[in-house]
């Protein structure tokens, strides 16, 4: 490991200036070249991001207006149209998913915290990570089998269940990571005052970490708001204002997907406007929350 570092060490002081100077100069130049390449690589890596933002800002902005949020998509040839039903549908889906994934995810995160250090807790964290790695299209199929095939119809409930399955491991991880930051002495102080375990867990540990937990939940909800694949065979999509949880509903990512592949410029412009909303509302919120979380945990 260290041989190459020592390779340039002179045997005798006299040899240094005469024989090793070119080699030392080469080492310094090589260092600058490689690290310069790393910086250029960073620029190259961020180029697509700039292209995406620029493209959405130019093509998407043209379709942004009040109609975007108040109208439903219009047939080809009809002026105007918007993504209002998709925005409402996405809010419904994420809201329903939150009803399931927030209590379950936070509860499971608290369970990990209460059993921290045990084999069971680390096994559950591992399983949550593995669940997080399951392709979201496969999650969609599972939700379809459980809730669409059995009921015989696509529904917002099935879509929300699929989204909740995506979010639960994220909420679990965020919760248990934030709770780990709460000083143990605080919890012990609660117990010393005679609090039962449940009270120390909820009103001392969880309450102390509530901002961090809420931020982690926000990141998870932002992530599922942009998910498309789990909704293909569950929420399915709709061209109308349909907000019955028992029936199919539109969703913003589904609309972007369908309209981007259409051959009509007006629909493609709407797709770009929808993508702009997703980037600003979903990715923007996610990054802001993530930064806040990093500050809370003292990492940034």
């Amino acid at each position: 490991m260290s041989t190459s570092v020592l390779a340039g060490t002179p045997d005798a002081p006299r040899a240094r200036s005469a024989a090793l100077a070119p080699r030392l100069r080469w080492r310094i130049v090589r260092s600058a070249l490689v690290l310069g390449a790393a910086v250029m690589g960073t620029g190259l890596a961020l180029l697509p991001l700039l292209s995406i933002l620029a493209h959405l800002a130019v093509t998407g902005w043209a379709a942004v207006g009040t109609a975007l949020v108040t109208d439903v998509p219009q047939p080809i040839g009809v002026e105007g149209g918007g993504l209002g039903n998709g925005i409402a549908g996405s809010l419904l889906l994420v809201g329903l998913a939150a009803l399931a994934c927030v209590p379950v995810g936070v509860g499971a995160g608290l369970w990990v915290h209460e059993h921290r250090g045990t084999r069971a807790a680390s096994a559950l964290t591992f399983l949550a990570d593995v669940l997080n790695g399951v392709p979201s299209i496969v999650i969609g199929i599972t939700a379809w089998a459980l809730l669409v095939r059995t009921t015989g119809r696509f529904s917002a409930l099935a879509g929300a269940a699929a989204l909740a399955m995506v979010a639960i491991p994220l909420v679990l991880r965020a919760t248990s990571d934030v709770l780990a930051q709460v000083p143990r002495t605080l919890w012990e102080a609660g117990l010393a005052l005679g609090y039962p375990r449940w009270r120390a867990g909820l009103t001392v540990v969880l309450a102390t970490a509530r901002t961090g937990v809420a931020t982690g939940v926000l990141v998870a909800l932002a992530r599922i708001a942009g998910e498309t694949a789990p909704l293909l065979f569950t929420a399915f999509g709709s061209l109308y204002w349909a907000l019955d949880p028992r029936g199919p509903v539109a969703a913003l990512p589904l609309q972007v997907y369908n309209m981007a592949l259409s051959p009509f410029d007006a629909w493609r412009a709407l797709a770009a406007a929808g993508a702009l909303l997703l980037v600003v509302g979903v990715a923007g919120a996610s990054v802001a929350a993530r930064r806040a979380l990093a500050r809370l945990e003292g990492r940034a």
Partner: protein, 303 residues
Amino acid sequence: MRRGPADRTYFALLAACALVVPLLLGAVVAYAVHGASPLLADGGAASLVGSTWSPSRGLYGALPAIAGTLVTSLLALLIAAPLGLGVAITVAELAPPGTRGPLGALVDLLAAIPSVVFGLWGVLVLVPWLRDPVMPFLRDTLGLGALPFFRGVAYGPSVLAAALVLAIMVLPYVAAVSREVIATVPVPMREAALAVGATRWEMLRDVVLPAARTGLVGGLLLGLGRALGETMAVTMVIGNRHALSASLFSPGYTLASVIANEFGEARDERHLAALLSLALVLLAVTLVVNAAARLLVRRAVAA
């Protein structure tokens, strides 16, 4: 410690929440196995080994989709690995302290952009750009058309387009994990290397990167897991054709894209079972890759 009834309820509720995770994972695996079983039971997995996929003729050769999944993901990783490492080194070691926050935020933003937005950008920007001038340039101007990988008509939607979109999508994951494990290498080790006269690059190459090796490999595997299962962006740019071709210019298919496109229209049981067999293959591969990645990253960060 003595536990009252309230405490018992508290722990029972938490345990119920915790149990949801293994139950969901079990449901995912169980349904994939169950759904695939009609096809796997009659004809066996052998019916998937073939290059013709034609539901109307009852042929479900999955080799093009499997090959497409592997080629796009590995190519994406090949592109994203050096760039991601470059980003990690830049953000963790080189950038002036004031610019590290904004740089990190940009990388985070790249990770937070929904898959369908990458797909839209792929359709509207990347694919037209590949069709003209990139593909003709590679094929004719550089003369790479002599190789089997850069042959054929430059349609635009292609294995190459899918690999590029995937590379952009997994890059922030590779960069984030790499940055994290690089940061775990103790400062005294770096100082020791610099003190014996190493340049900054020599310090990274001989001390920091070897010490972070396990975690770096874990980060790459995590990126691979993402790429293998990525659906929307790939479906939108890969061209969706069940065909085996050595050329990166030709349209292809991936396991996830086949499911996305055909699952909603699969009427007969055998077609459905074939699609679920694809899902099972995809699930098995991603589970193994992700489990390995998590174990490596965990060991690296804990060490």
